[in-house]
């Protein structure tokens, strides 16, 4: 290829890059909805096996997700209430909230009771059912107890409508009666020893994950908080809702991108300036990586429709691997001195780059086979990014690097040489084998101490204060946590309600044993027809002879007219599910009914309230047909465990896959020597992690995958490059060390991340790349020892 061809190709490449960048910018910023996915849970796999469970989880997330729950606390009751009112008014003014509920609408008691009167003979509490089923049930005494009940307040039903109090008891059990929040001064209030708590809820006019909505809503809440804290001294505002978690996650990720991105960029810049002694190579190295990142982002958004935050952070780290290609080419130029000719230089590094790219692509393609959207996206991101960076070295850089460059700084080369010689001296011949054995023996106790941990909180680590506020709010308001629920399925609504009743019986006994705070389910509000008919059947003997009933009621002092009206009302009608669903009382609970979402049959959600362990909740669902506990955190932890095992297998498979590639390029006899640095690096890293008592997670293994990838690259670079730099001993190792240090500067800085998963990732890379870079001279040790 001639000079013109070189420029032409570079021109085409530059134009393609520019188009790609413009397209990527449009995908990212040009559309209404940002494709950057900040919901960390969104990148987890859809709940497997049961698609309805996924619909249910999404519906719950929607019911809870766009809602902001605020609790205004003050030691002084009046101040707490005044602050809550003020907060309600302040938030209502902002149209980022679709609705704000602080003060309740006026409330008419009779309107609330009236719809239930027709069903009074079919709705019974468990306690009344048990009492009525007793052989010695004495109606006359039951009436006497009811009319003499101490401190009876008669809220709800009128005595003459419900002489035995059956409906009254049933209504007392309904969720709106059980809530720890009491309507006081038209506000939902709870009292604790340390003061009053008033509930204010708001629904967002959009998604919690939309960053515009997020900023506006947080602003409005923060401002309102300041106002009420000023106007009502001593007021505290507790907050919970997906909004705050999403905002915290975004802030954490932004912080990570800033810290990791900037420190690594500046670090790499200083390093390259120091070694190459001119800013040109530095800019080219960044250009090449930049092209890789742009292409990777664009293709990932195109393929997946959105890009996960974790991928972006991983992308920041990928800088370290992509920059290797340009560093190799730049080093070749620096080492060639005045004899530099861009096309010859390219031919010289091409085998090494292709081999390095090939092993990396092979590795990431393997990662892409894991059925985990986030891992696939990272694989896609890495493969595209590295291919683009490598292509930029082949097609763009030669045109831009026509002139010869200064050689590598002497200091860096002599340091590298000293290190290389030291390692080679220790690692050659029998001494090397002995040393390897000693190190292995030292590593054994470390391996022995390895444990693993698959807790979902590695991925989602909300700020402690948010988690504490949520726990307080849950404790005071009795609201559920929304991530654990039962899905009850059946052939029709009747079967579903019957199955739910079976479940709720177990849940109620957990409540009675104080293992659970409560539960919320449709069957508690509309019993199954079977249950309602059974209730009616329990009452039937009492009404079988109207004269006896007249006698009992008359004996208790009821008026003639009222008695006749009651007898007329018997047997009433059962409460129909569809009727209930349409009633205004059902509005807050309608989302529990999944009838419309289930394609065949029907389904409901039952929400356990309070803190019960997954195992206990699981036990309550055991052996109940159609009942599944959907426990997102637990199933995610389970998946993490599975993928961690996949990842460890992957590592082994990838090593085996590299063997024939290296065997083809070098000889089978030399493969152990080339593979030793990354493999031993991984082995020693595992031992160190064991000594550090770091439980292994999926993310440690992901980091080890990268260690294998870059470690193999280093061995290849050194072996391929060494023959070309015989005139300058140490120069090749200097360029490999340069690669390693840039990788450490970018990856290793992830150890500073706010996300535990990325911290693990960073630490592992820090150790793994460190060990591998130190060990890499052994891959050529038998050939060349310089003195």
């Amino acid at each position: 290829m001639n000079q013109q061809g070189l420029w032409l190709r570079a021109g085409w490449f530059a134009a393609a890059t520019l188009l790609m960048a413009l397209f990527g910018a449009w995908l990212l910023f040009g559309r209404d909805r940002s494709p950057i996915q900040t919901d960390l849970l969104a990148m987890l796999p859809a709940t497997e096996r049961n698609p309805l469970a996924e619909v249910a989880a999404q519906r719950l997330a929607h019911a809870n997700g766009d809602r902001v729950i605020l609790l205004v606390a003050n030691a002084d009751d009046d101040r707490a209430k005044a602050a809550a009112r003020e907060l309600g008014h302040a938030l209502a003014k902002d149209n980022v909230f679709a609705s704000v509920t602080a003060e309740l609408p006026p409330f008419d008691l009779q309107q609330w009771v009236a719809p239930y009167l027709a069903h009074r003979f079919t709705l019974l509490t468990d306690a009344d059912r048990t009492a009525l089923a007793q052989p010695g049930y004495n109606p006359a005494q039951a009436l006497a107890q009811r009319v003499n009940e101490p401190f009876a307040t008669g809220v709800g039903t009128r005595l003459q409508d419900d002489p035995f109090g059956w409906l009254q008891h049933w209504m007392d059990q309904q969720p709106w009666s059980r809530s720890p929040l009491v309507p006081e001064d038209n506000l939902l209030t709870a009292h604790r020893d340390d003061g009053s708590y008033v509930l204010v809820t708001a629904t967002l006019n959009g998604s919690s994950y939309d960053d515009v909505i997020q900023k506006r809503a947080l602003n409005a809440i923060d401002q309102a908080e300041q106002t009420i804290e000023r106007d009502q001294p001593g007021t505290r505002l507790l907050r919970t809702g997906a909004l705050f978690y999403a905002a915290a996650a975004r802030a954490g990720a932004e912080h990570d991108v800033h810290v990791v991105g900037w420190i690594s960029t500046i670090g790499i810049a200083l390093l390259l300036l120091g070694v190459f002694r001119s800013p040109g190579p530095l800019l080219l190295a960044f250009l090449s990586t930049g092209i890789g990142i742009v292409a990777a982002t664009t293709v990932s958004v195109l393929v997946f429709g959105q890009i996960y935050l974790l991928t972006l952070v991983f992308g920041a780290a990928l800088l370290g691997e992509a920059v290797d290609y340009s560093i190799q080419y730049l080093s070749a130029r620096a080492n060639a001195g005045d004899a530099w000719e861009p096309r010859k230089g390219l031919r010289q590094v091409r085998p090494a780059l292709l081999l390095a790219l090939g092993t990396s692509l092979l590795g990431y393609a393997l990662l892409g086979l894991v059925p985990f959207a986030a891992l696939r996206q990272m694989a896609c991101f890495a493969m595209t990014g590295m291919t683009a960076a490598c292509l930029s070295v082949f097609w763009l850089l030669p045109a831009l690097l026509q002139r010869a460059a200064k050689p590598l700084s002497t200091a860096s080369v002599s340091v590298a040489l000293a290190l290389q010689n030291a390692v080679a001296r220790f690692a050659s011949g029998r001494r090397g084998i002995a040393l390897a054995i000693v190190l292995m023996v030292l590593a054994i106790p470390g391996w022995w101490q390895l444990r693993h941990d698959d807790d979902v909180h590695l991925l989602v680590a909300p700020p402690v204060t948010l988690a504490a506020q949520e726990a307080t709010i849950r404790d005071i308001t009795g609201l559920g946590n929304g991530t654990q629920f039962y899905l009850v399925q059946g052939a029709d609504s009747e079967q579903v309600l019957q199955r739910e009743e079976a479940l709720e019986q177990r849940l109620q006994s957990m409540v009675d044993a104080s293992q659970l705070q409560g539960w919320l389910g449709v069957a508690g509000m509309v019993p199954s027809m079977q249950r309602q008919h059974a209730n009616q059947a329990l009452l039937a003997p009492l009404f079988a002879q109207p004269d006896r009933m007249r006698q009992w009621l008359d004996g208790a002092g009821f008026r003639h007219d009222d008695i006749e009206r009651l007898l007329q009302a018997w047997p009433g009608t059962p409460l129909e599910l569809q009727t209930w669903l349409k009633s205004p009382l059902a509005t807050p609970f309608r989302y529990l009914w999944m009838g419309d979402a289930a394609h065949d049959g029907a389904a409901t959600l039952v929400l356990p309230q309070g803190d019960a362990s997954s195992a206990l909740l699981q036990k309550a669902a055991a052996d109940l047909p159609g009942v599944t506990l959907v426990d997102k955190p637990a199933s995610i932890s389970d998946l993490f465990g599975r993928y961690r095992r996949y990842a460890s297998l992957w590592l082994l498979a990838a090593i085996l896959l590299i063997v024939p590639v290296f065997g083809w390029r070098y000889s089978l006899h030399d493969v152990p020597r080339v593979l030793a640095p990354p493999v031993l690096g991984i082995a020693f890293t595992l031992a160190m992690l064991g000594y550090l008592h770091q439980p292994l997670t999926l993310f440690h293994w992901m980091a080890l995958m990268l260690v294998l990838g870059v470690g193999a690259n280093y061995a290849v670079f050194l072996r391929e490059g060494e023959p070309h730099t015989v005139h300058r001993p140490g120069a090749m190792y200097a360029s490999v060390l340069l690669s390693a240090i840039t990788a450490l500067l970018s990856f290793g800085l992830l150890a500073l991340s706010s996300m535990p998963a990325l911290r693990d990732f960073g630490l592992t890379l820090l150790l793994g790349i460190g060990f591998t870079a130190l060990l890499v001279p052994t891959s050529v040790a038998h050939r060349t020892t310089f003195s």
Binding site: A75, D76, D77, F107, L109, A127, Q141, A144, Q145, V147, N148, P150, F151, A152, T153, G154, V155, R158, L159, Q160, H169, D172, Q173, S177, R178, P180, V182, P183, E184, D185, N186, H191, D512, A556, G557, F558, R559, D562
Partner: protein, 197 residues
């Protein structure tokens, strides 16, 4: 600070704050009290008044046991917001969880324990008489409670002697206490029912 607030609101609402404090101070002197009671209830839905009688035990901070002996036998434990029925074998069965408006027993418990702030949150209080013979009037502050409950009146001297509850539907309950005395040691059953160690 809290005491000051309470004192201020009492001052605003009670015609004679000193008397109210004297009364409360006197009542809370007795940490456990027994009495015999007679309850008469008049309900407009019923043609005649209902009478019941029995024994009660009140323990500050824990609640009360309400033992009906006539016209039927029943023991109820009213602890905080919970009401349980206790059978002859001592087994407790939750009757209902009262809340919202059903706070009269809670209010009484707070009153007798001298916790005025809890009471003042829910009721306007006025007092008349002398420390030897006083009457306290309570009217609900909360509109939702006032829809149901008209007023409560307590009277007594060294001990609480009578409770009168007027509901908006016309129901009147009159409880008279006699033979009121410090409780002395509690039986194991009583301790268990009230959640005492």
């Amino acid at each position: 600070m809290l005491l000051l607030c309470v004192a201020l609101s009492v001052h605003a609402q009670a015609s004679s704050p000193d008397l109210l404090h004297t009364v409360l101070g006197e009542l809370s002197q007795h940490s456990a009290v027994r009495a015999a009671f007679n309850q008469q209830r008049q309900n407009p839905a019923l043609t005649q008044a209902q009478d019941s009688s029995g024994q009660l035990l009140f323990v500050t901070g824990h609640g009360m046991l309400w033992q009906v002996q006539q016209p039927y036998q029943e023991t109820l434990a009213l602890t905080g917001s919970k009401t349980s029925r206790i059978d002859a074998a001592g087994h407790m069965q939750p009757v209902r969880n009262e809340r919202g408006v059903g706070q009269i027993s809670q209010m009484l418990q707070s009153m007798l324990a001298g916790q005025l702030d809890t009471v003042l949150r829910q009721f306007n209080v006025s007092v008349e008489g002398t420390p030897a013979q006083w009457t306290l009037h309570f009217t609900p502050k909360q509109a939702r409670v006032a829809q149901v409950l008209r007023s409560i009146q307590l009277d007594g001297g060294a001990f609480l002697q009578g409770i009168r509850i007027d509901m908006q539907d016309g129901t009147q309950t009159d409880i008279r206490m006699t033979d009121t005395r410090d409780a002395g040691p509690l039986t194991a059953l009583e301790k268990q029912a009230l959640g005492l160690p």
